[in-house]
């Protein structure tokens, strides 16, 4: 149970921590205010708690697939926010708009991941034998996830403007792609998009339930047996993100900032 708790909590915390750390580090690089963080976190935690408390109502909505639809929607919104962020950072005069986008993105991510964590811990903590392994596993998972976030923050912050921006945007491409991959998976579960024969099966190479598999799931939305539609959506999201990133980087290059 301890390992299961570590994997689940790590997966959720790592996703949110990566988004927060990349946004924070890029705010520093672009000399934007970081005041958006606290309201975003507080709002995210509050909505996560509300979401978790009303999970039964939400999951029964939309003929029993409410939770999948809400989660997928949150992930699509996070993808949209990341794309808008990359689009708007070209112009420093957009700082208020950029701060608002980061605030929305972080609060959505915290809502989504926070609610999953609350539901998981709430469900298992009631069983006395599981309380200790679940709590310790959760602390370890959260510790690793937050530490990885801190590591990425200082890594981007310590690099030059050019390299820091490149690494930050590269991570955002991966995170955004992962969001679409996860959203498509949830929509398949909800039977809103058809699941066909998996394009490949890489379980023997890297099982998605293993620790590495789960870390890659959080980072790039790794799935061992993806349906064709998932792969198409993933490629489309990567294409959008790469196009926006290249445009932004070219813009900085033209202004001889990098």
């Amino acid at each position: 149970m301890l390992i299961n708790s570590v994997i689940l909590i790590l997966r959720e915390v790592l996703e949110a921590a990566l988004i927060v750390s990349v946004f924070l580090a890029l705010s520093q690089k672009l000399q934007l205010s970081k005041r958006w963080l606290m309201p975003a976190l507080l709002f995210g935690f509050a909505t996560a708690a509300i979401y978790a408390l009303n999970i039964q109502v939400i999951s029964q909505a939309f003929e029993g697939v409410g939770q999948e639809i809400v989660n997928a929607s949150l992930q699509v919104v996070i993808f949209g926010c990341i794309a808008l962020f990359v689009f708007f950072i070209k112009n420093a005069q957009n700082h208020k708009r950029i701060a608002f986008i980061m605030m929305c993105c972080v609060s959505m991510a915290v809502t989504r991941e926070g609610a999953e964590i609350i539901i998981y811990i709430q469900g298992l903590i009631a069983i006395p034998e599981l309380r200790s392994p679940v709590l310790i596993g959760s602390i370890i998972g959260a510790g690793i996830g937050i530490s990885a976030g801190v590591f990425f923050y200082y890594l981007i912050a310590s690099l030059s403007f050019k390299n820091g921006l490149r690494l930050g945007l590269f991570l955002l491409i991966l995170i955004a792609g992962g969001m679409i991959m996860q959203a498509s998976q949830l929509l398949i579960q909800a039977d809103l998009i058809s699941s066909q024969q998996a394009l490949w099966n890489s379980s023997s190479f890297l099982n998605e339930r293993s620790l590495t598999g789960q870390l890659l799931y959080a980072l790039i939305g790794y799935e061992a047996t993806p349906a064709p539609i998932q792969v198409y959506m993933y490629i489309c999201s990567l294409f959008i993100m790469i196009t926006l990133t290249v445009r932004t980087l070219n813009h900085f290059k033209q202004r001889e900032i990098i």
Partner: protein, 443 residues
């Protein structure tokens, strides 16, 4: 990076957490595997003990209901007839007879069981023992988790210790920063750190070398100022005497000598102003400050230059409620008021008004000089403090003697005393209004 301490704390804690937690997970998996092995051995020993203690082949059910229901045992004949079994044992032979000793995971009674099968060659029978996997896994996990808890709890404690240790390590840097920030503007003495660490030694050495160079540069400039004042004033005075003598002799045309006399006068004025500008430059930071009465100095300056005002029939008045004491340099304040009132006189037409006001305003002492002169256009207000800048260029409308240094000197003196200066149009008199706010804590 906002704070070295925060950076070190978070980065160290993140590294420690990552390394420790990954080690913990690795240790957890190894410990669980070891515990599984121990439980397997226990199951094997149980089968061996049952083989030794049960010698008969009579079928019976042992009354084991009072004992743990998480373990079962059974004895099967070689024909796979159930001879002896515990109350919770399965009624069918779930394992295989391929090996004489084998472990296998089986499902029955709604649980998953770990079973061990042993062939007893002596009595030609099979002994099977089993244990519920969830219970033995839970047991193993509880034992291993108990050893992990202190490691997890140690992380916040490590955080506090790291915070404290970093603070201790950065103490010399903090001491150095406090020493530097507490230094008075005119204090150029060397900084000293007791037992300065290797990393700071170079910094302290460089700062001290810089301070030494700065001190010697100031001293050199002070000497230059004194020498220049003496060396330039003497020949100018001599020139003034000579021109006066020439004018007395009636040998030369008065109109030919006038421009020469005016040139000498202008040179003397410019030199005095340049020396004054240098003496009051804030970078000097070496002026002696004493308690001075702002009102008395203003009266003194007005009285000293009364001739200039009366020549132009200008009305000059001083409006002051009481004595205003300032911690300042007397000579600098004298120069400041002199420059302001002479500027006002210069750019105010004949029979114009000049008003000096000294008053308390909020937390400052305010010196206001306003006139009914031509004033300064709003677009030029920012530039008048620049050295050698004159409104409307060299061909100043007033045609007055000036070199564009008066207000630059005023600004230097204002900065030197931590005061603030503001220029605006006088509502009452219509000309320029100069407002200087001296901080009260300087008093």
């Amino acid at each position: 990076m906002k704070s070295i301490r925060t950076y070190l704390l978070f980065s160290l804690l993140a590294i420690i957490t990552l390394v420790t937690f990954f080690s913990v997970l690795h240790g957890y998996q190894s410990s669980i595997a070891k515990a599984e092995q121990l439980f397997d051995e226990r199951l094997q020993h149980l089968a061996e003990i049952i083989a030794i203690t049960n010698q008969d082949r009579e079928p019976r059910q042992e009354d084991s209901s009072a004992h743990s229901s998480s373990v079962f045992f059974e004895i099967w004949s070689s024909e796979l007839d159930l001879l002896v079994y515990s109350h919770n044992a399965p009624m069918e032979f779930l394992t295989s007879t391929e090996n004489k000793e084998s472990f296998k995971n089986v499902n029955f009674n709604g649980y998953r069981w770990r079973s061990f099968t042993l062939y007893d060659q002596r009595l030609d029978r099979w002994i099977v023992t089993g244990e519920r996997i969830d219970i033995r896994y839970g047991l193993a996990e509880n034992i291993v988790t108990a050893s992990i808890i202190p490691i997890v709890l140690a992380i916040p404690i490590a955080g506090f210790i790291i915070w404290w240790a970093i603070g201790l390590g950065l103490k010399p840097l903090k001491t150095l920063a406090i020493q530097l920030s507490n230094k008075e503007a005119d204090d150029l003495s060397a900084v000293a750190l007791n037992e300065s660490p290797q990393e700071l030694t170079q910094l302290v050495t460089t700062i001290n070398a810089l301070l030494r160079r700065l001190t010697s540069a100031f001293l050199r400039e002070q000497r230059f100022s004194a020498d220049a004042a003496h060396e330039l004033r003497t020949p100018i005075s001599a020139l003034k005497v000579q021109i006066h003598n020439l004018q007395q002799k009636n040998k030369y045309d008065e109109n030919e000598l006038k421009p020469l006399a005016a040139g000498i006068e202008r040179m003397a004025y410019v030199i005095e102003q340049i020396l004054s500008l240098y003496r009051h430059s804030p970078e000097q930071g070496l002026v002696q400050k004493t308690k001075v009465d702002l009102c008395a100095i203003a009266q003194q300056v007005i009285a000293g230059n009364y001739e200039s005002f009366s020549e132009k029939n200008q009305n000059i008045s001083l409006n002051s409620e009481s004595d205003f004491m300032l911690q300042a340099n007397t000579f600098a304040i004298e120069t400041l008021i002199h420059n302001l009132v002479m500027n006002a006189s210069k750019y105010t037409h004949e029979q114009g008004d000049i008003l000096l006001t000294i008053r308390n305003a909020d937390s400052v002492i305010q010196l206001v000089v306003e006139d009914s002169g031509i004033g300064i256009p709003e677009t030029e207000l920012d530039r008048v403090f620049e050295r050698f800048y004159r409104v409307a260029g060299d061909r100043h409308a007033s045609g007055m003697l000036g070199c564009g240094l008066g207000l630059a000197i005023v600004k230097h003196i204002v900065d030197l005393h931590g005061a603030k200066i503001k220029l605006e149009q006088s509502v009452e008199l219509g000309g320029l209004k100069v407002i200087i706010d001296f901080p009260r804590d300087e008093i």
